[in-house]
């Protein structure tokens, strides 16, 4: 297990929290210290954002999305909370940036050139339906699980526990799994996720 398996907690900024944010020098050092694998993971994730959110057509390429996340972090527009690893921070920054572009595009598509939304029109648009923030129907969740994990129910069930916020040790205790067995399943899960992200 590496440091990435620590639970991620998003803590809202508050008075006295300033020390938790990386300074300009710390951010630069962290970005320049990204390893080859970190870069590859970030680009893989950026590709999946661009594909799944259909950004690659004249909006943003994966390389630009990564560059934007670096730039916004350096400029402190996306502040890096040092309690979160830099790579996970960059993942969330890309999620946020690509989500913003999607929302912007939806707004533009809803109100074409020259047609300003009236106050009545502004009300129901945008809706959460069809967005990433929308709750998934049970069938959709099942379909997605099947897409990623196929018939591997063991992997899917552990993934669902992670989805519910349980961490590795808690899952092992909850379903009485040895650490070795858990790690073997976790490896299978990561393999299936990597394949899913590359293909989708």
């Amino acid at each position: 297990m590496n440091s990435e398996s620590e639970p991620l907690k998003i803590v809202p900024a508050a008075a006295g929290e300033a020390g938790h944010y990386g300074t300009a020098e710390e951010v630069e050092k962290a970005l320049l210290g990204l390893t080859d694998d970190d870069h590859a993971k970030l680009l893989l994730i950026a590709r999946s954002f661009c594909k799944s959110r259909r950004l690659s057509i004249s909006v943003m390429e994966p390389e630009e999305l990564v560059a934007e996340a670096f730039a916004k972090t350096l400029q402190a527009e996306k502040k890096w909370n040092k309690r979160v690893s830099i790579i996970r921070h960059l993942d969330r920054a890309m999620e946020n940036l690509s989500g913003h572009l999607v929302r912007q595009r939806k707004k533009i598509d809803a109100f074409p050139e020259g047609l300003e939304p009236s106050p009545e029109q502004r009300g129901p648009v945008p809706t959460m339906e069809g967005t990433d923030e929308a709750l998934m129907h049970k069938e959709e969740a099942q379909r997605l699980l099947k897409d990623v994990f196929g018939e591997d129910t063991e992997a899917a069930n552990i993934f669902l526990l992670r989805l519910e916020g349980f961490q590795a040790a808690e899952i092992q205790a909850k379903i009485t799994l040895s650490a070795i067995k858990y790690e073997a399943i976790a490896k299978r899960i990561r393999r299936k996720i990597a394949l899913h992200l590359i293909q989708k």
Binding site: A40, T131, V148, R191, I198
Partner: protein
Amino acid sequence: MNQRTDKAITREHFHRTMRDLLLEASPEEFRELAREAGLNVDELAKTGKTIVERVVQQNRRSATQPENVVVLHKGLNTLLLMLRRRDGLDESKLAERADVDEVEIRRIESEAGYIPHPRTIFKLEKQFGLPSGVLAKLSGAVKHNSPVLEEKALAFAASAQSIGRLTRAERQLLNEFIKFLTEKG
């Protein structure tokens, strides 16, 4: 399948959990996964490193630029982007029509500290039918001593969207800014 999917799940949460798990892969494991999936980690890493080095250099340059130059460049970035949107041109089409480098267009639009070549500015002014010197004022090629220009450039940059066709309000904003640059800037 007996997975429990009764609880409320969002797509965002689902995908986040997938990515979090992927990020947990050790370097060795990730290389193995990538190999299986036909990904070239070294190639991706090379691209990533080039990007990070470029962005860090830009950021250092911007940090040492006088504040007013950065402000004007923000106005230039936005102006170029809006002109492109007005005419329905993507970067490559604009590059082709104006006979300039596409990379340079991307850099002008995304880097506040980037100083474009005078030829590029000249060609772009011609392409968009702008009076001579309108873009040059914002590029820093023409010296000025007008705090009003900086104020206008900053306000213009702050009020624009970044994608899609121009709305009526944006078109009006664009026309007013060009008029200001032509007459007073």
